[in-house]
Each structure stands twice: as C-alpha cells, then as structure tokens.
Amino acid sequence: MVGKNSVDFPGQTGQEPYEYRQRHPNDYEAQVSQGSINAHAAENLGSTDKGVAYLRRKLRRAIRAIQAGERLPESERAGEEFLTHTQDTVLPIPIHPSDDEQLLKDVTDAVMEIVFEGDTLGGDERASFIESKLRTLKNDTRFTAHCGDT
C-alpha cells in the first residue's frame, strides 16, 4: 500500500508497537528520536558525516544569499525537463590487487562524469547516451590494466 501515511518498505512510519520498534529500529526511529529539533551543538560530526556537514553548509549559504536579496538561478534543463542524476550502475570490473579503494574512487568519478555529461540532452536520447558511454567503462584500460589480457 502506497498513499497517505503508508509506503511499501519497512520502518518509515513509526506505527509498529513500541517494543517492536525498540528491537527493530529503522529510519523513523533513528531520525525522529534525534529530538523535536535536532540540537546540532550536541553532535560530534566525524569523517562519516561529511555529507551532513556539507548539506548544512550549502543550506546556510543559500539561506543567507536569499537574505541578502539574491534571486535563485534557473536550474539546468533540457527543454521542458528538470534534470536529476540519481542512478545505479553495476560494472563487471575485477578487484584491484593492491588498491581497490582507489579503483572504486576512480570508477565513481568516471561514472559521475558521464552522468553529468548527458545534461545537454533530454529524454531517451540522454538515457541512451549515458548508458552506452557507461558500458564502455568495463573495457576502459584505466580501470582494467590490473586484469591482464582478456
């Protein structure tokens, strides 16, 4: 069921019995329990919280720009479309023997570069442009040099 106060994946509405929520906490329990207004001063953000710090910094800058009388820039569009970039890509690229973490970072940069490169196009054209470029990454020597000849 998807509708008013209801969605088809667990842990979003806090409607289960209290004891169940204590034993099986999910998004609702974690986020609502931060407090009626989360007190940032009592938090201790670390290396895993970069995104949160980043979001707050960006939000504060945007809020202050409006306070200073600035107007918002128009968003990127392809024709009538407002472009977004949330996606999943799964590439068959074997593990790097010495620095797989660096490989994962480099592949991510390459994926995002292609995803952003599609911004000049819209609709099906954009999707097939991005998809076909992403497909080339599994044979890209930048990421497969460690695999030897295949």
Binding site: V7, N38, A39, H85, D88
Partner: protein, 314 residues
C-alpha cells in the same frame, strides 16, 4: 522546544557546550540540552529558512486527500485550507476568513470558490472576495484574502508560497516522465524538524549500520559492506555516491539533494550483483515542514518496468 534567540546566542551556546568538561560519569556537565540552530531549522513566515523555502514550488498535499469539504493543512508555519471548487479548479487560501477570522475548513465549496460558514463571504481560488452578503459597504473591493498559486502534477498538489514577482516556472522532473514508469504519490508525517529528515539522504553511512549491521538487514544484504563514499556539487545540488565492491562487480549508486529539500534515492531492493547501467530513482521525495517541529515526506514511489524490469519492488 523552539526558541526565538538570535544566531549569536546559538553560536555562544554551541561553544560553551563543546567546552564542557569531558569526563567519565560527567553527565552533570551536559545535563542541559543545547538550543537548536534557528537559521537552518525555523521555517515560519519571515524566518531566514522560511524565506528560502518560499522561493520554490513545493508539494503540500496529495490530490487524493481532497474531497467535497475543504482540507486544512499547515505548511511552513502557516495554517491553510486547500480545496477544489465545483469547476475543478484548485484553491489554497489562508485558514482564517478575512471577515472575522472563522476557519475556512468549515466553509462550503461552491461552483467558483469557498464560502465561509459564519457570515457567508465567498472566496475565489485566487483570494478575490466574490460576495460579502448583506454588507452595505464595498469591503470586498478593498481586500484580497491570502491565497497561493497551486498546480496539481501526477497526484501531488504543489504550491508557490513566495513573493509573487519571484515565482519560478513549474519544474517537470525528468524521472517523472520516464517511459514505462508509474508515479504513485504518498506522504508520511514526522513529529520533528524537517532538516533531520532531509539530511538522511546525505548520510550514506547510516545505510551500512542502521539498515544492515546493527540489528536487522532491512533492504539488500550487500548494504552492510563498507562503501567508498564521495560527494559532488553543483549550484543548489549535492550528490552523494556509495560505491561497493561486490565480488567481481563495482556498484556505483548516486543519490541527490536539490534545493530546497528535494531528494531521490535508488531502488531499495538493489543489491548490486547484476550488471546494469543508469537505473533511475525509485523514490522522488521532498521533506516539507509543517512547522518547526513537524514535517512530512511527500513523494512519488516509482513502479513499472522502466525502473524495475524484474518487478523486485512489487
């Protein structure tokens, strides 16, 4: 509890809270919870963050919530009433009648507008006063009731609550126009401030712990693998990436937060085991404040072969 202190008070209190004596069994030194950051969390009329929200089209209700009586809602600390007149046009008006403040949630929906129950004033969807029965003065020509423009799109009702001369074009998000995808609207109420709900998309490590390692596996079993996380930026947009090594595959998941509180996330059933390219969001959502201490996620869940060819999320 919500406070009205200036930003300087928050900064001062933050400093003193951080400087508290850090000692084991030292709860005494931290017994008082510090105040919140008003600049980022308060959303009422005239507040900095409230002004920011009032520059965008934001969803305020599900189309399916409307009926033959008005719907009372609270958005950005304003009490409002939303209704569809008998011609099918949507209206979003301030809750309290411009005559003597009776609530328009008890009004009667008519052909062209909404009639207050108390003395029968009739409002058009744009706030124009159409009738002030039995009044001998021309009050109605001097006043316009508070109203906001509304658009209904794919079952969500969007409003623009900002300065009229800064109203942007209504955006049509790419993911709402994908082939073979059905967007199903939903909303969820949260009894807390909007920001902590919105931040979740930019907290990639919670998926590892909350959703896989600490208690149960809520979604895919691969979510407990430590990802490599990175962030990318454009004006008014932040992208978080979570990249997982899953045997001989690399799964690159990107998710975004766009001003003011729009975000999208990938499929909750994804495990990253099968080769795939540019599979789009399964959730397109906003976190919309009702007031400082209440908010909702109001969203579309995407169904259909366009996002879910194997029907794993059905």
């Amino acid at each position: 509890m919500s406070n009205d202190l200036p930003q300087s008070a928050y900064l001062k209190e933050t400093r003193s809270y951080k400087n508290n004596i850090q000692v084991a069994f030292g709860g005494y030194h931290k017994a008082k919870r510090p105040i919140e950051d008003n600049e980022l969390t308060h959303v009422g009329p005239g507040t900095p963050c409230g002004e920011y929200f009032r520059r965008f089209w934001i969803p305020v209700a599900l189309g399916s919530e409307l009926s033959d009586v008005p719907l009372r809602i609270r958005i950005l600390g304003e009490d409002l009433v939303v209704f569809r007149n008998k011609q099918g046009t949507l209206g979003l008006l301030h809750l309290h009648c411009s005559h003597r403040n009776a609530s328009l949630e008890f009004g009667v929906i008519e052909e062209q507008g909404l009639r207050c129950c108390y003395h029968g004033w009739l409002y058009d969807v744009d706030g124009t006063i159409l009738e002030t029965p039995a009044q001998d003065s021309k009050l109605s020509e001097k006043i316009c009731h508070g109203a906001y423009p509304v658009v209904e799109y794919l079952g969500l009702i969007f409003a623009y609550m900002g300065p009229p001369d800064e109203q942007p074009d209504f955006p049509k998000w790419d993911t709402t126009m994908l082939p073979d995808v059905e967007m199903v609207p939903y909303s969820i109420h949260y009894p807390c401030n909007w920001l902590q709900i919105c931040e979740n998309t930019m907290d990639p490590w919670h998926t590892v712990f909350l959703h896989a390692r600490v208690t149960d596996i809520h979604f895919g079993d691969t979510w407990g693998i430590a990802p490599v996380t990175q962030f990318y930026e454009k004006p008014h947009k932040i992208y978080a990436t979570l990249t997982y090594r899953i045997e001989d595959k690399i799964w690159v998941r990107s998710q975004e937060t766009i001003s003011p509180s729009f975000s999208q996330v990938g499929a909750w059933w994804e495990t990253g085991r099968e080769e795939k390219y540019f599979k789009r969001a399964s959730i397109t959502k906003w976190t919309i404040p009702h007031d400082n201490e209440n908010c909702m996620i109001i969203a579309w869940r995407s169904f259909g072969p366009g996002v879910d060819p194997e029907g794993q999320g059905d």
